[in-house]
Structures are given as structure tokens and as C-alpha cells.
Symmetry: C2
Subunit: 429 residues, 2 copies
């Protein structure tokens, strides 16, 4: 880890950069995959499954037998843990459904909004070394709470043609309506365009590698909404001298083990704690099964000494971290000053993994500085809000002249006429 | 207008298409403009102002003198109308700020969300034949309500180097913090990358021609958020036989006059009203100053007879119109069935122009079927929501084992360690 002592604030922007993707070549390659699924549909997906997943599939859709089998295979303790986490996620996301009131904006003019679920949503869950069943919960539970009618899930099959049973169990209890064996950019294409087996959806959610991310960006340009742009996962930890160095090291490592491109930043106003955190990081790292990955991530990571906690939160707001841990004697003071972050963890006992799994907050969060302009996934992500208005006769009489004056000034006579004609009719009544 | 009688529901998808953009060439041309502003900054903008707006500017920023002058030039009646409309927009959008409560998801585990304004936003207002000052209100008022600290506005100058005074007045009273003379894709580039004069922003809003729309899509891929993808404006009117045909005609025409590519659709279950609406449309069209534009739009437009009002709302949900006018004897019955629409107008007195200007709802809405997966602009558009969580000692004791079990099953030992280490410390306490 790079250690930086008291950088001047004019040098901060140089420290907040994230690795950028080589876009052009990737975009061409992914564009080809999208085209091929668009035209070849199921047949193209089956070919890609052979090519990329090394498996010859007969059917893309997971059967109810396969799900029932999977449910039996998951150990009881894990089932209970998943159910407890689901309960918390459900509770927090359900609290986000707030009824809005009709507003009388002007005498005789009433306006209101209604939240209507996006009818068809698609969730992508990556394959790879770790079965990310927690992400199934984080996407499917708010979709179910919102009331989406079609919640489909795509995830790549293993070489034996199966999906990890815990993923199937999580999907089963979260309200996913259909599960398909498809991975990578080709799965995104399938959910965007539809195939014989996989229905087209209106919005696509979920993490993935750079192919998946690029595919989501490309289909977004064709009218499919996506949860948010994505980059490597990251954490920023702020502590003063009161924090336990072993906690800080563990939090940094829990992020570093995600992938070699994970971003890990530690800010403190206390010089003395830095060597202790480094020592702890070193010794805990040695015991981690994923230490090779974590070591690579730590190579790009930074420990920065700043002159005050005030400066720490200032730097953090500039960096806009996905996860922000504030492990100080009085975290509320800094929490009130957070402007850009995905999810914030307060105090010594709120480790990031609590939010990753079970506190109830969502773990699908803006990375790469997108916390400046995007929110994490919430129940809101599965709704669109439609406005309604009703003008009574008197309402149009009252507000009509205002509309006429404005429409005329915008040179839109047709807009004015729609009012004038009605006002005339009302006068003659 | 094309008239279609009782199409079978399997033929509906063929009727809901919108014109599509020729993307590749446009994307290349706009990409060049973005690059040139990224490197040339103000100098590039001044050159483009000469090339596209036919004006040689000394300064891009509108001075306070220019604003003061403009405020004097706007007629008092128009000022009052704008203020009344602003009041309604303010009232409706302020009602969207709902406080959320802290949620105790599990004993000792507390989660909450906080809405924080996007710090820097950019609004784009097109030039052209009509001065769209109403759009200034629709974007700047919710930005001010949200509390964005920097609200900048770009709009192309006229040949005399000035901005339309009503646009300046609207910006002035709505809380815009700086106004710049820049139009087209180059203005979007300036707000995305920043120049010597124009600060970079995190989110860009506003309508525009296909160059502006493409520029927004391209900068979105570089991490700038945008309000939504855009296409030509559109209205869908549903009526039964009780509606006044002259109202329907006026509503169709008020949309048709927007541009030659505007989409206008009229659905009814009453055969007899169709010739009356056509007759009215013809006679009102003849009197419209923008009749050439409106005629072109009507050429692509449709009147469809369906067998029931139920079918009308079914078709509308498939079409997903930007504006939906329900002018029937009992509009509430259909309103309850709206699934996909931008903004809905109920009853005979709720013409679209009411929402365009003054009812209080926002007129920046999803077009081209994007109402299936996007909401219109609201106060929400100027916020991002940050989640917070605090686990007390007991909270971690209670939920810790759940996290450990799940992290272990995802093979993320580092995630588990961050909990185990803390639980161990608590046991030793």
C-alpha cells in the first residue's frame, strides 16, 4: 500500500483517480455478441455456453425439479442465515415505499404521483469463483417489494450444466419468476432483446465483469434501462487514533479480497496508528485464502495521513467511495458531512460485511466515483413514477390565462388554443 | 392521419413503433465535437458559436448586467404568469421531499437513508424558433428545491450574441447560478468536461435536437449522469363518445405543432366521433401559425378505433406515451389501469398544455416508449440517496453469526474475518 503524508488539497484530485477501461476494443467485441444473440437467439446462447462455460445445454431454463433439488442441498444453517438476512433487507426496503399525497397546486388544479413497478426486470448474477447468492437477495427482494410482475434471473452454468444450489435457493425464496442458464454479455443481450426461451425485459440489474458492464452500457443506448454504470468495488475507511487497528485492517482486506482491481483507501488524522494498521494488514493477509487477489488489490491502494478529520471527510467526498466506514470516537459528526458515498458504516461495530449481507441496506452501490451522481439500488429502482393531474372547470378558468400567456410567448399557438377553446366553451355554458 | 379500424391485439406491437435515429454517423460527428471541446475548451466553444450560431462572442458567461436588462424587457403580464406557474411547480415538487425514518432492522442494527442533492448540475435549453423558458422552470425549480449548490444553464445565443430575455428572466427567478452562451453538442461537452468558463457538472438535464441527445448519451458513458434518453415529443388521447371533438383536435394539434417528428395518437371506442375529430383537426390546423410543422407530424399519426375503452388503455400501456390524455365520461376507471405513461391528464378540462406550463407537474418526460422504464424529471432527479447503518455491540453479536455463515458460503473469508475478529473482541471484553 502506498502511504501518503499530508498531501496538499490541490493535489487531492490527482489521488482520486480510478482505473479506466479500454473501451473501444471491448465495445466492438461485445457489440458482436449482442448482434449474434439478437439474430441467433437461443441457438446463439447455446453456442456461447459451449464456448465460454464449456457446457453443452439442452435447455436454458432452470426447471422446478432443479430448484427443488437445490433447496434440499443447501445446509439448514445457511438457509436460516439467508432467511434472517432476507427479513432485514425486506424490512429496510419496504420502509422505502412512501405514499404521496394529492397536491392542490392552485384552486381547482390537483396533481399527484403514483409509483408503478417496472413490469419486467432482469437480474444478472455472475458465476466465477464465489457464488454471489447475496446479490440475488439484494436485487430480487426490492423487485418483489415493488411488485414487478416478471423478475427473471440469468447466471452462467457450471461445467456440469448446473447452477449453484444456494443461488437457486436465494432466487426461489426472493420471488424470482424464472431462472436461465446464461452468462456474460450474451445473457445481457438475451434479456434486452428476448429469445425463444428468455423474455425481453425493460430494466437490467446486477454486477459482472467488463463484458457484462459494457453490454449493459450498450443496450442502455437502445432503450433498456440499467441499474447504474459499474466499476470495481471499493471501500474508504476513516479513523482517528481511537480505532482498533485490527478492525481497520480486516475491513480493508474484506474489500481487497473482492478482486485484484478492488480499491482500498484508508484516511486518518493520526500518524501513530498507520504502522499498526500496516502491521495488522500484513499479518491478517497472510492467513487469507484469497491472499493473492488481496495482495494485488493492496498494491493500488493508499493510506493517507491528513491534518484533521475534517480533511478526511473532505477527501472522501471528493473521492465519492462506494463504501465509507467512519470508525472514529464520534462518527456522527463526520456522518453529517457526507455528501458523496454509496453506503456509510458508522462506529467500530459496523463493518462493511454487515451491509454486504445482512444489515438490511442494499449492497448494489455506485463505484468509480458514481456516488456523486447515482444512488445505490433501492425499492425506487424498480418503480417509475407517473404524474397525474385533474383540472376542474374552475381550475382551468383560474389557471387558463396563465397558460395562454406563456404559450403565446413561446410562439406555440396550438398549445394556447387547447386552452382558449375550452375557456370559450365554459363562457358559453 | 392514418385511421385504423379494430386492429387485432396481435397486430398492436406493429403499431407502437417510433422513428429511430441513424446512430453511427451521428455518433461519429458528435464524438468529434466532444473531443474538440475537451481539448480546446473555451476556444473551441467560441469557434462553434461562430460556425453554428453565426455569432462572434467575447465572453461565454452571461453578465449580471445582461440579466438585469432582460428582466426589464419582459412584459409584466408574462412575468406574473411565469411567477404563478413557478409557484405551482414549486408546490408540487416540494411535496416530493419525504423524510424517511430510521429502521431498526434487527435488535441493535439501525439503517436509514438520506437524500443529498447532486452538488453540480447542468441544464440545457435549446434555441431555435421558440424560446423554451418553461423548460427552464421545469429543470431549475426542482434543482433549487433539492438544494443543488451549482445550477448552471447553457443555451445558444442569437445572431446578435444575446439570449432571449424571457429565458434569462426564468433562470433568474428559478435559482440558476450561472448562465452560458453555448448550444448543441458542444454545450453538453462543456458541462461534462468543464472549460475555463464553464464548470464541469455531475448530471446534465434538458431537451435538444439529435446532436444534443447523442452528446448526452456519449458523455453518460464517461460517468456523467443524464436525466433520461430522449426522442420526439408525443401525446396519446383516449376518448369515448362523450368527448367534445374540438377539444380532442386541439390537444392533438398542440402536440403536432412541436415538430415534424412529433407523435400523435388518438384512440376511441366510438366510431361516430372519428369523422368529427378529423373535421375539427382539419379546420383548426388551417388557422395554426405552425401548420406546416403540424401537418408533417400528422402524416405519421394514427387514429385507432378499438372495441372497448379497456382495449384503449391496453394499447396505451403497450405504447407507453409521454403524455396521456384520458377524456372519457369516467376517467378514473382508466386512470387506475395506467401502467406505462409519463404524465396523465384526466377529464375534459385537463389539456396537455396545462401540464406543459402551469399545473405544477413536470414536463420533462420519457418519450419513445421510455415510460416503460423511466420516470419524468422530479425533485428525485436532483438527489442521490445514501444509506447509513450503525450496529451497536449487541447488534453485531445478534447478526454477526448470520454474516459469518453467508460470507463463508460465498468463499469470502476476509468478509467473515471482519466480523469474527470483532466478535472475539466482544467476548474478551
Amino acid at each position: 500500500m502506498r502511504t501518503i503524508f499530508l498531501p496538499q488539497s490541490q493535489d487531492w484530485p490527482g489521488l482520486i483517480g480510478r482505473p479506466s477501461m479500454e473501451r473501444k476494443e471491448l465495445s466492438d467485441r461485445v457489440g458482436e455478441i449482442l448482434e449474434s444473440v439478437k439474430s441467433g437467439k437461443d441457438k446463439a446462447l447455446l453456442l456461447y455456453a459451449e464456448e465460454f462455460d464449456g457446457v453443452s445445454l439442452n435447455d436454458l431454463r432452470v426447471t422446478s425439479n432443479e430448484i427443488a433439488e437445490a433447496v434440499k442441498m443447501v445446509p439448514e444453517e445457511l438457509k436460516q442465515a439467508i432467511k434472517t438476512a432476507s427479513g432485514n433487507i425486506d424490512k429496510f426496503h419496504s420502509s422505502q415505499l412512501l405514499p404521496e399525497k394529492e397536491v392542490h397546486t392552485f384552486p381547482g388544479v390537483n396533481c399527484w404521483r403514483k409509483s408503478i413497478p417496472v413490469e419486467k426486470v432482469g437480474l444478472y448474477i455472475p458465476g466465477g469463483s464465489a457464488p454471489l447468492f447475496s446479490t440475488v437477495l439484494m436485487l430480487a427482494i426490492p423487485a418483489r417489494i415493488a411488485g414487478c410482475t416478471e423478475i427473471i434471473l440469468c447466471t452462467p452454468p457450471a461445467k456440469n450444466g448446473k447452477i449453484n444450489p444456494v443461488i437457486l435457493f436465494a432466487a426461489y425464496i426472493s420471488g424470482v419468476t424464472a431462472i436461465f442458464k446464461a452468462g456474460g454479455a450474451q445473457a445481457i443481450a438475451a434479456m434486452a432483446y428476448g429469445t425463444e426461451s428468455i423474455p425481453a425485459v425493460y430494466k437490467i440489474f446486477g454486477p459482472g465483469n467488463q463484458y457484462v458492464t459494457m453490454a449493459k452500457e450498450l443496450v442502455q443506448q437502445e432503450g433498456i434501462a440499467i441499474d447504474m454504470p459499474a466499476g470495481p468495488s471499493e471501500v474508504l475507511v476513516i479513523s482517528d487514533g481511537t480505532a482498533d487497528p485490527s478492525f481497520i485492517a480486516a475491513d480493508l482486506l474484506s474489500q481487497a479480497e473482492h478482486g485484484p482491481d478492488s480499491q482500498v483507501v484508508y484516511l486518518t488524522d493520526n500518524k501513530d496508528i498507520i504502522p499498526k494498521v500496516m502491521e495488522e494488514t500484513k499479518s491478517q493477509l497472510a492467513l487469507l485464502p484469497r491472499r493473492d487477489i488481496a495482495s494485488k488489490a493492496l498494491e493500488n491502494s493508499m493510506i493517507i495521513l491528513l491534518s484533521s478529520l475534517e480533511d478526511c471527510i473532505g477527501f472522501s467526498n471528493l473521492y465519492a467511495p462506494e463504501h465509507l466506514i467512519i470508525n472514529t470516537a464520534n462518527p456522527d459528526i463526520l456522518a453529517a458531512k457526507v455528501v458523496n458515498a454509496g453506503s456509510v458504516f458508522l462506529g467500530p461495530w459496523s463493518c462493511e460485511s454487515a451491509g454486504d449481507y445482512a444489515s438490511g441496506t442494499n449492497h448494489t452501490l455506485p463505484t468509480s466515483g458514481y456516488a456523486r451522481n447515482y444512488s445505490g439500488v433501492s425499492a425506487d429502482s424498480f418503480f417509475k413514477k407517473i404524474t397525474f393531474q385533474r383540472l376542474e372547470k374552475d381550475g382551468l378558468k383560474n389557471i387558463g390565462p396563465v397558460i395562454e400567456t406563456m404559450a403565446e410567448a413561446e410562439l406555440l399557438t396550438g398549445h394556447k388554443n387547447a386552452v382558449s377553446l375550452r375557456l370559450k366553451k365554459l363562457k358559453n355554458d
